[in-house]
Symmetry: C2
Subunit: 394 residues, 2 copies
C-alpha cells in the first residue's frame, strides 16, 4: 500500500486558497484574498517589455539559465534593496525565487529539523505557517500589540527554550494584522537577536505600500551579524502573476538557499525574469507604486469609515498605515467561522482569524483585505457583515 | 550560532550546473548540459502568444491563480497525455509544476521520511538524486542493461528490503544513458509493481523525441492500480525558459502534490501558463517537435560516427533511439574526472558519470549531450576527447 511521509499528515490546503475558489464568483464581495487590484496592473507596459525581451534576447529568454537568477533582474533588486529598504548589498547576495512563498519554504528547509522550534508573531501569516509545517517544527507564538512583537516576551522565550532555529517576522503592515513595528521595537529586537544569534526571516511584501507616517528601516538594514534573511517580492508592487520574489542574505546562508533552489526547481523562469528586468528598465516602478497607493489608501479609508458606521460596539480593528489588511476582533464569545458561513450566505467573504495562530485559539478574530474591491462594494460589504455581527451579539 | 538543518549537509551544488558556468564561454565545445538547441526555439510564435494573452486576458495573466494550474493549459496537457503517452485522464488529475524538477522535489517530500529507501536505475538522473537527498533517504540502485532496468534484480531488492517508499525511473531515452526500456521489461515491471504496491515516479522528459523505432507505451498507460506518478515537461518539446512541467497521478496522491505546491510556491506563473496555452492554441506543437527531431537525429548520427572514428578500442557507448544523450564507458582504469580536466584544457566539456550513481563508483563513465552543438563542433569536440583518451590509455 502507498504510504505518505509524516509531513503530509500536517499539510492541508490553505483555508484562504480554498476560500478563493468560492469567492471567485463575480457577485461575491470578497475581503478574503490578499490580492492586488488587477485593474492597476500595467498590462501595456508588461506587453512592451515582453515584445522587447523576445525581440532582443528571445533565445536566452526561452533557455535554461543560472540558479541564482537573471543578472539584470538581480541588479534592479540590489538597487531597490538600497533605495527602499536601506540595505547595501550586491547581486551575489540575492537569489531570485518563485515568489516570496518559495523563500518561506526554503527558510524552513534550510534551518529546521523535525521538532525544532520556530518563533513567530501572534498572529502570523497562514501561508508561512503552512510552508514551515512541511518541516515538522514546533511553533511558539510571541504576543504582539499595536507596536509590534512584545520584546520582553520574546526574550523570555529565547532565554528558556532549547532548539529555537529561526524567528519569522513581518515588521511592516503585517499579514494579517496590518500592524507595523515601532523603531524602538526594531532596535530592541536586533539587540536581543545579536545576543542569542538566531536567524531571522524578515518577510517584507508590503513595506513599500506606506500611505502615511514615516518609513522605518528594515531589520536587514540594522543587521550587523548577518543574521537577518530578507524576503522580498514583486507581487504587491508590480504583479504576482510572474511569481517572482527574492532572498537577500549573507553568503554562507544564501549558499544554502541556492542549493535548495537547485534541488527544488533549478531556477526561476528565464523569460519571466528577463521581462520583469526589461519592465524595470523601461518604466519607473516608483511611479507605479504611487498609483497603487493612491487607490489603496482610499479603500482603506472607506473600509475603516464603514466599520465605524456599521460595526457595533464591542468590535475593534487595527488602523494600518499601509499594506493590504486590517484585523478585526469580535466579542470573545463570537466565532468568526460561524460568522463566515452566515456572511457567505449574504455574498460577502473574509478570512476567519483562527488559522493565523499556529497553536489554535482566537476564534473571535478575522482578517479583512481592502485592496481588491471598489469603494461602493467595500461599504456595502461592511454593512452586510455589520448586520450579521449585530444579529449575533449577546 | 546559526545552525543548518541536517539535510543541508547532504546537498551540494549540482556538478552539471557548476560546469555550465564554466562552459558558457563561447569558445568551449560543450557536451555537458542537457539543454535544447536554442536556435530552434519558436521565438516569434512565443511573442505572438504573449501579445495575444496580454491583449485578451492581461489582468488575469498578472494576477494570482489556482494552485492546480491554468485550466486551458491543463486541457492541452490532458490531450497530450492521451496522444503521446496513451494515458486517458482529465484536468483534475493534472498539477502544473515549475518544470519537472519540481515534480521530483515534491515526489520526495510526499513519500519520504529520513532513512526510507528509494530504488532507481543505475545510473540515474543526477538532478533527481539531488532533489531526493533533501529528504535524507537511502538509495538502492538497480542494475540496468541495454534493455532497461533488470527486473530480476528489482524483484530481489523488493523482496528483501524494508521501507522502500518509491521507485524512480526514466524508461524513455534515459538521462544519462540514452537507453529505452523494452516492452517486455515494461510489462514485467508493472507486474512486479502491482505485486509490491510501491509508488513509481515515471519521469518522461524525452519520450516525444524518438528518432527511429517504435514508440512504446508509458508505464502510466499500463497502470491499473494508480501507482504510477507521471512527470511531464514542456522543457524539451517547447522551451525550458518558462519552467513548466506537470504531474499526472490518481486523486489521493495528486492531492498531496497539490498541498506541497501550495506550501512550496502557491502556483506556477499565471502569465507563463497562459502564454504557453495560447501558443498551443495557435500552433501545432507536433510540427515543432518534428523540426527538433530532424536536427537532433543528425547531431546524434554525427556524434556516434565521430566516436567510431576517433575513440580507441576499449571505449564503448550507447546508441540512443531518441532523446539528448549517449553514455560512454572508458576502460576500467580510466577516471573521467581526470579526463574532464584535461579536456577542459582543450576547450571541450562533458559530465563525468560518477555523479549519476548515488552510492558512488563507476568513475570510468561519462555523459555526452549532442542536442546543443552544431555538427562541425561535435566532430571537432569528439576528436579532441578521443585524443585525450588515447593519450591516457595504458
Amino acid at each position: 500500500m502507498v504510504k505518505f511521509a509524516n509531513r503530509m499528515s500536517l499539510l492541508t490546503g490553505s483555508e484562504i486558497r480554498e476560500l478563493l475558489k468560492l469567492t471567485s464568483q463575480p457577485d461575491i464581495i470578497s475581503f478574503a484574498g490578499g490580492m492586488p487590484a488587477p485593474e492597476l496592473f500595467p498590462v501595456e507596459g508588461v506587453k512592451e517589455a515582453a515584445i522587447q525581451t523576445l525581440n532582443e534576447r528571445g533565445q536566452a529568454a526561452l533557455q535554461y539559465a543560472s540558479t541564482e537568477g537573471d543578472p539584470a533582474l538581480r541588479k534592479h533588486i540590489v538597487a531597490r534593496m538600497e533605495a527602499k529598504n536601506g540595505v547595501k548589498t550586491d547581486a551575489d547576495h540575492i537569489l531570485v525565487t518563485s515568489g516570496s512563498q518559495q523563500g518561506l519554504d526554503f527558510s524552513a528547509r534550510v534551518f529546521l529539523n523535525p521538532g525544532d522550534v520556530v518563533l513567530l508573531e501572534s498572529p502570523s501569516y497562514l501561508g508561512a505557517v503552512n510552508a514551515f509545517k512541511a518541516c515538522e517544527p514546533k511553533f511558539i507564538d510571541i504576543p504582539t500589540d499595536d507596536n509590534g512583537m512584545i520584546m520582553e516576551e520574546l526574550e523570555k522565550v529565547l532565554a528558556s527554550t532549547e532548539n529555537i532555529k529561526m524567528i519569522y517576522v513581518i515588521p511592516d503592515f503585517q499579514n494579517p494584522s496590518g500592524r507595523t513595528w515601532t523603531m524602538e521595537r526594531r532596535q530592541k529586537f536586533m539587540e536581543i537577536i545579536n545576543k542569542y544569534e538566531v536567524p531571522v526571516i524578515e518577510d517584507n511584501p508590503y513595506g513599500e505600500l506606506r500611505f502615511e507616517g514615516q518609513s522605518l528601516p528594515s531589520l536587514k538594514s540594522m543587521d550587523t551579524k548577518g543574521l537577518v534573511i530578507f524576503l522580498g517580492t514583486f507581487s504587491k508592487i508590480l504583479a504576482p502573476g510572474y511569481r517572482l520574489g527574492w532572498v537577500c542574505a549573507e553568503s554562507e546562508i544564501l549558499g544554502k538557499y541556492n542549493f535548495m533552489k537547485q534541488a527544488a526547481d533549478l531556477q526561476a523562469s528565464s523569460i519571466g525574469q528577463m521581462e520583469t528586468a526589461k519592465f524595470l528598465d523601461l518604466y519607473n516602478l516608483d511611479d507605479h507604486v504611487e498609483k497603487i497607493k493612491a487607490v489603496y489608501v482610499k479603500r482603506r479609508d472607506c473600509m475603516l469609515k464603514a466599520m465605524e458606521e456599521y460595526f457595533p460596539e464591542g468590535v475593534t480593528w487595527t488602523h494600518p498605515e499601509g499594506g493590504l489588511f486590517t484585523w478585526v476582533t469580535l466579542p470573545d464569545y463570537m466565532n468568526a467561522k460561524d460568522l463566515q458561513m452566515k456572511c457567505l450566505d449574504k455574498k460577502v467573504a473574509f478570512v476567519p482569524g483562527g488559522g493565523f495562530f499556529p497553536n489554535g485559539g482566537h476564534e473571535n478574530t478575522l482578517r479583512m483585505n481592502y485592496s481588491c474591491m471598489p469603494e461602493e462594494k467595500i461599504t456595502e460589504g461592511i454593512k452586510r457583515i455589520g448586520e450579521v455581527i449585530k444579529a449575533n451579539m449577546k
